[in-house]
Amino acid sequence: MTALQRTPLFEAHVAAGGKLVDFAGWELPIHYGSQLKEHDTVRSDAGVFDVSHMTVVDVTGPDATRYLQHLLANDVAKLGVEGKALYSGMLNQRGGVIDDLIVYRTAWDYRVVVNAATRTKDLAWMREQAVTFHVELTERPELAMLAIQGPQAIAKTKAAKPELAALIDSLQVFQGLPAGEWFVARTGYTGEDGLEIMLPGNEAIAFWNALLVAGVAPTGLGARDTLRLEAGMNLYGHEMDDHVSPLAAGMGWTVAWNPPERDFIGRKVIEAEKANGPAFKQVGLVLEGRGVLRAGQIVKTSAGDGVITSGTFSPTLKLSIAMARVPSAAAGTVEVDIRGKLEPARIVKMPFVRNGKQVFE
């Protein structure tokens, strides 16, 4: 067994009392004492996550745009100006999702941020597809990445790093810009306002400590999961994988069908799926019976069986919620097989929580 990788913030996690676990091959904190408390802090104030395990790749060269237009289901042509960001699936030839990612338009062309668990697979695929383009892919493993999230995230980050204040104020939601070797983006994964900041690894601990002094709470990846689920955000390996189409994973909105001549990988397959009407769709579930919804539980609907892709107890709502992939005709009330007992649940529109408040009716 290979040793777990450590981010530049490892010592800071130990100092903050982090409970460190194996997270996709990285030794990262699941919580610093209480996942529930950390979750609530992000909803009401500000928390910081170490997401340095995510993979940053810069895409440069004369064919960078054409390459990404072929590689991604969403269209980077939408990124009119430097700073804009786009969420997209990267599909295989069968129309399955290799990964979901964010691509930023930058002065040097593009920056792509992909998941940690899929790093090797993603990079191999990206390099394979790059062969016929004049494009260069540069991994940036020397960069650490911190996500500061919550209603006070921006104010507290500016207090911790005043020299970034003007840049932060200039960013609209889903935009990112460089500041020297740093890169500051107004993005996140919690349904709250906030920032994701990439910075040289050797500056990460000082920045982390400044954030803590400014009153930002160290927050573990456990809370990141309950926060993203409340926000109705997909997680690779749960809501989607190489065998699930973006249409069945609630990512139809991320597929750019126009212009029709743009031949992105997987297009033909998901175009046919769309024309025939996708067999499955993604829904939110709220448990009305007893227990906690969990990934893998079977969902019985009037239109056939589905499956829960992520489920949890919602710390904000104090009830159990889930994301599920169910037959497209499913509606209304369903039953979930929780440890052999069928418990009623209700299909709702996601997200479950936005800006700290319940969204669905």
């Binding site: 699941i30 919580h31 209480s34 996942q35 529930l36 456990g222 309950t226 007893r290 227990g291 906690v292 969990r294 949890t312 107890f313 710390p315 159990s320 440890r339």
Partner: protein
């Protein structure tokens, strides 16, 4: 560091047992178990009158991150359950040996208690 009270008995599935004056046995989960689970958000208890063999699943405790079975550490009949616990599952984190007891059994064979771990044995098992 987990708390392992000296007066209790233990099993390797992380339940504790306390023999009451009337010979019944109160059962809960250990401090070590609640630490591993993290924030407890849901508890399912057995029914009064249920009969279990040692090692049978007798309930469920769910934390934010996972569900875990609670096992009957000895054979016997459930004579009481902690009615308050499902309404306050977080007490499993704050008071695992007190408020958060799970259920009480009448042992089928009181001699079964002799084979269980004592505090020193359990502390050694969990490296406490």
């Amino acid at each position: 560091m987990s708390n392992v009270p000296a007066e209790l008995k233990y099993v390797d599935t992380h339940e504790w047992l306390r023999v009451e004056a009337d010979g019944t046995v109160t059962i809960g989960i250990t401090d070590h178990a609640q630490e591993l689970l993290g924030d407890v958000v849901y508890v399912e208890l057995p029914e009064v009158g249920a009969n279990y063999a040692a090692g049978d699943t007798a309930g469920v405790v769910e934390s934010v991150k996972a569900a875990s079975d609670i096992y009957a550490p000895i054979a016997g009949e459930v004579v009481a359950i902690n009615e308050e616990l499902p309404n306050a599952p977080e007490s499993a984190n704050s008071d695992p040996y007190g408020e958060a007891w799970f259920f009480r059994v009448k042992p089928a064979n009181p001699a079964d208690l002799d084979g269980l771990l004592d505090a020193a044995g359990y502390a050694a098992l969990i490296g406490a």
